[in-house]
Every structure is written in C-alpha cells, then in structure tokens.
C-alpha cells in the first residue's frame, strides 16, 4: 500500500514549511508530510547574499532545523522531487517511482531564476544564478576576481555588493533599461542608489543590454551593446518565474499572469489542492489587482493560511504588498507603492529631499500618499508603509484614508509632519 498523508506539501521553502507547521498547529492529529527537492530544511534565501559575502555562516542562514519538524510531528522527506500529480486519485508520484496518497495537497513549488539559454555563451562554466544555497556554494567554489552582474533587481543589487564584499576586485552591474530597478524606482532614486553602489566600488552601467557571454571553455567576458567587459564570472539576476510546471500538467488552473490562481483561502481551482508562495497569483493589497509577488512575507503568511485551512481552519489571506527592501552592507533602500510613471501627471505631486545623507522621495496621487522611495535609512518605514496600506483601502468607502492637505504638499518634511500628526494613540 502506498503511504498516505492527511496533508501533503510539495516544496520545503518559506511557504511549504510555514504551511506544515500551521497545519500541525491547527490540527495536531493530522499526518503532515513535506517533500523537498533540495536536501535542506527551509533557509532564508534573502540571507544568501550575506552568505556569499562571507558575512554569515551556513548555519546563519537556516530558518528551521530538521529536528524542528520532527519535534512538531511533521514527516520531512528532503531530496525527493515530485514528478507528477494525479488529482483524480489524489496521488503524487515521486521521481524515485514511489507514489504517495493525500487527503489535501499544498503546492509550494516556489520560483525558478530566468535564464537566457539561447544567448551565446550562457552555457559556459562561469554562468551563475542566485536562487539556492547550492548556487552560492557553486559561485564560492568557482572563485575569480572580476564579475559582471546582469540585472538590477534585488538580486542584482545585493549580489553585486556581496561579490564586492567577498573580495572581488572588479564588479560591474549591467542593466539593459535606462535606470536601476525601474519597476520599483524612479530615475532620481536610481541615481542615488547608483552613487551608493559606486561608493562601494561597484561599477554601474545602465541602458546597456547584454548581447552575449564571451569565452571558449569558460566565461572570459560579457559583450554589451557598447563594449566587451572582461570577467571571470557572470551572475544573472534578470528575474524569477513562478514554478508552475507540476500544476499545469495536473490541470490546476493558472491565473492571467501565469501563476497558480488561488482564492483568499489559498484554494486552487481544483478541490483538495491548495497553493502558496512564489508559485501563486493572489491580490495586490494596494491596487486590488491580481499580482504575483515573489517575496518572503507573502510566502510565509500565505503558507500559514494554506496550511491552517488544509487542516480545517477558515483563515483568509488578504493579499500582499510588493515591498522592495534591501538593508545590508551599508545599502539601505525601500520602495513601496507607485512610481511616477504609474500616476497621471495631473494627479501627481512629487516631493524629494536629501537630509543627513538620507534620500526620500514621496509621491502623492490626488493628494494621497501613493508611493515611497528611500535610500540611506529605514527610519519611518513603518509609518509610510502603514499610510500606504490605509490609503489603499480608499476604494472601500469606509476607509480612514486622509489626503495630505494642500498646505502640506510643499516638502517631504511637511508631509512627514502631517503623517506623524495623523498617527496617534
């Protein structure tokens, strides 16, 4: 007879692991099993840059130890990959050939780094991504002294700083678009950020698409539209894509953005199947629109909701925020809400200041705070985040959102003073 679990979870990342513990907490009598391809219990991917830089030890990256699962009564099967799901028979098939039966299934398969396989040279030794601990180990073992980092999202930014801190002599960050992290930052903020990166010795090239990787037997350089940059390794940070292969093959409905569609209880369109984490499409808490948020907080919280509900609870997941946050090695950036391009010019007021080394840019839409970008400090992050969330509820009718009065729309200071006054108790 095949083994059967009341709750079976695929993926032992932030989402799958949270789901397992929440399920056990909700209903200790149920049997819970987590399957994970990586032979490691959940660790903090956001801490990987610190592992790469040498700031953290391997132990410093783990979130749970194997013994934690054991003492919670969770069956942990690591190094096991699911090959297929048979929703009719409520079975999953492992690569080893074994089949497992489930009462409820939770998909927490996460995301995969995007790779440009067709681009010349991307199959040479010396091409790296940074998704897993194995990726960091491989990069560390490969060595070198000159690196090109492609892409300026969180991974590109943190990766380039980490390589520099690791002792690389030359680190060049290349971004094809006109400025850094354009999905989250305006040009002005990007300029501030570029100055910080350069002060740490990272060379920043924007508006320069990579055309190919150079080298015969291993990477020796990168060719952009404007130049050849000699290097020993390339770190690709051009984005992550939800891992939905298993779900797609099993006929689990995807959303309009291509990730697994879930309702507010984290149920997929197929009965007895839940999903959570980087592989799902849920709701953006600010816009109310469908969103795929590849972030830690939604993975943990969504995982907890999915796990609890699979175990019989009735919890609700109220969507998530896209929080662009980096706070390491002297680099502090926070970006929340809309960028300038997402607000019509007639409705937009943009205020910006730099005081005591801290850059702040606030965007008002129709008088309401709608976007925040800061470089250099996380001070007041909580206040700004809380105000943005409150303003997003504006469409509900009963919201407590308050516009910034006309007379306070002159400077960042005035707006901050107003927001502080609003917050009391």
């Amino acid at each position: 007879m095949d083994a059967c679990f009341d709750i079976l979870i695929i993926g032992c990342g932030a989402a799958g692991s949270s789901a397992a513990f929440a399920a056990k907490k909700t209903s200790p009598a149920l049997s819970v099993c987590v399957l994970g391809s990586e032979d490691l219990p959940v660790y903090s991917a956001p801490a990987l840059p610190d592992l790469l830089s040498g700031e953290l030890s391997r132990e410093g990256v783990f979130v749970r130890e194997r013994s934690d699962y054991e003492s919670a009564g969770i069956v942990l099967r690591l190094g096991e990959t699911v090959r297929a799901i048979d929703p009719e028979r409520r079975e999953v098939h492992l690569e080893s050939g074994e089949a497992l039966r489930y009462g409820e299934l939770i998909l927490a398969t996460g995301s995969q780094p995007i790779r440009l396989r067709r681009m010349q040279g991307t199959d040479l030794p010396g091409n790296f991504v940074m998704k897993s601990m194995a990726d960091v180990d491989a990069m560390a073992a490969y060595g070198g002294s000159r690196a090109v980092v492609v892409g300026s999202g969180a991974i590109g930014l943190e990766g380039s700083m980490a390589l520099k801190a690791r002792g690389f002599e030359q680190v060049t960050l290349v971004e094809a678009l006109d400025w850094l992290s354009p999905k989250s930052l305006d040009k002005e903020t990007s300029d501030e950020l570029a100055a910080v990166l350069e002060s740490f010795g990272v060379e920043v090239l924007t508006g320069e698409a990579v055309q190919g990787v150079l080298g015969e037997t291993r990477v020796t350089g990168v060719r952009t539209a404007k130049r050849d940059i000699p290097c020993d390794l390339v770190l690709w940070g051009i984005g992550m894509r939800p891992d939905v292969e298993l779900a797609k093959a099993a006929g689990i409905p995807l959303g309009q953005l291509g990730a697994i569609r879930v309702d507010e209880r984290m149920c997929t369109g197929l009965s007895h199947v839940y999903a959570c984490g980087d592989c799902v499409e849920s709701t953006d808490a600010l816009t109310g629109k469908p969103a795929v948020h590849l972030f830690w907080e939604p993975a943990q919280r969504g995982g907890s909701v999915a796990g609890a509900n699979a175990a019989g609870a009735d919890e609700v997941y109220q969507g998530s925020l896209a929080v662009f946050l980096t706070n390491k090695g002297g680099l502090s950036i926070l970006a929340l809400g809309k960028t300038a391009r997402e607000i019509t010019p007639e409705e937009r007021v943009i205020l910006q200041e730099k005081r005591d080394g801290v850059f702040r840019r606030l965007l008002l839409e129709d008088g309401y705070l709608a976007g925040v970008q800061t470089v250099g400090s996380l001070a007041d992050a909580d206040l700004l985040c809380a105000v943005l969330k409150r303003n997003a509820e504006r469409s509900n009718g009963w919201s407590l959102a308050v516009p910034v009065p006309e007379e306070c729309r002159c400077s960042v200071r005035d707006v901050m003073r107003f927001l502080r006054r609003q917050r009391r108790g």
């Binding site: 909580d382 003073r417 009391r424």
Partner: protein
C-alpha cells in the same frame, strides 16, 4: 495578557522611560538603543508611544526573513531570538506601530520584551503615563478617556502637557534604575540625559 499601555494625556515627555530602557539594554544612555520611543508631532500635538504591542496577529512574525520572531501562544508575548537576526529590516517595515528598530550595539532589530514581566520603563515613569496592565483594564480606561475627550474637558489638543519631573522624582527614578542595574545612578546626569532625549524627540517632530 498584561501589556504596556500609554496615556498621552499624562506624559510630560520627560524621557525617563527611554533612558532607563537603553541603560538596561546597553549600559549607556543611548536613545537609539531604547525599545520604547515617544513620538511628538509638534508642541500642541498629542503624544504617541512606539513600543511593541505584542499583537494578536503580529505582522513581524511572517515578515521576519530568518524565522526568529514568534508569538508565544501561552504568554501572548512576541519573542525574538535576536542573536540570529541578520538585520533585513522587514520587521521594522511591516510593524504597524513602529516598535521595531535596529539597536546599533547589537546590529540586530529588536523590540520590547516587557523586561520579562516587570518593565523598567513603567517602574520609572514618574507621571503614571505608562502602565503595565491587563488588556481589559487598559481598554476600559482608554474608553473613558476617549469619552472624556468628547464630553468632558474639551478635546485632546487643548490639553496642557503635564509638568516635568521634580528633583524628588529624579531621585526616585535614579534609584529605580540603579536598583535594577545594580549600579549607582546620579540623578542629575540622568535628568540631563533625559532632557537631551526630550529635545531630540521634539526636534524629530518638527
């Protein structure tokens, strides 16, 4: 559970709470090391305390990228193993009350742990603005204060801030802090440090 509660109408912004907190955390009167902050948005504005509320559904727990913040089901406390913090800052961004900040001496983000059940800030607060009380008591008091603002003494804005601690108060505060830390604390230098703290808070609000 028993939580800290703050009555803005009674607070003189004397700074003793934060000073005592930072002394007990790092042995120095260092505002950035305090786990309680009083926010002052202007001379006539009501004050606000920024300190961990040990929320029922704490946002910091799922935000923490190292999984070191937990809600203890029995005691209700939100605890953190800050020794393992890698300072990602997510707890500070997601906290709805601004209770989490980076303690420079530890590099870690921390929040109030209620001193294990006997908060020093409450022991030193000279005006009774800070209390350590059961939820029910606190909410009853807040309700009546709220009603008082509407029907009684006319709005929180008009209220005068209570006077600063007297010499005798400072002596009492110094001996409470000293007693807890097992060192002698000079009331005068404590008062000086607190007054710097107060100015800093007032400037933050400007």
């Amino acid at each position: 559970m028993k939580r800290l509660s703050f009555d803005p109408a009674r607070c003189s912004l004397c700074g003793a709470c934060a000073l005592a907190c930072s002394l007990s955390r790092c042995g120095r009167p260092e505002p950035a090391e305090s786990r309680i902050r009083i926010e002052c948005a202007g001379p006539d504005e009501p004050l606000r305390s920024a300190v961990c509320a040990h929320c029922e559904q704490p946002a910091c727990v799922s935000a923490c990228m190292r999984g070191i913040i937990e809600k203890d089901e029995k005691s209700g406390l939100v605890t953190r193993r800050w020794e393992n913090c890698f300072a990602c800052g997510a707890c500070a961004v997601y906290c709805p009350v601004g209770a989490s900040s980076q303690e420079p001496s530890k590099k870690a983000f921390t929040a109030c742990d209620l001193c294990g059940g006997d908060p020093l800030c409450v022991a030193v607060c000279p005006s009774g603005a800070l209390r350590f009380e059961e939820d029910a008591e606190g909410s009853a008091r807040r309700r009546s204060a709220y009603a008082g603002r509407f029907f009684g003494s006319g709005g929180d804005k008009a209220q005068e801030r209570p006077g600063l601690p007297s010499q005798a108060d400072w002596e009492r505060i110094a001996s409470a802090v000293g007693g807890r830390l097992g060192v002698a604390v000079d009331p005068e230098s404590l008062a000086d440090a607190c007054s710097r703290q107060r100015k800093a808070w007032e400037e933050e609000g400007m």
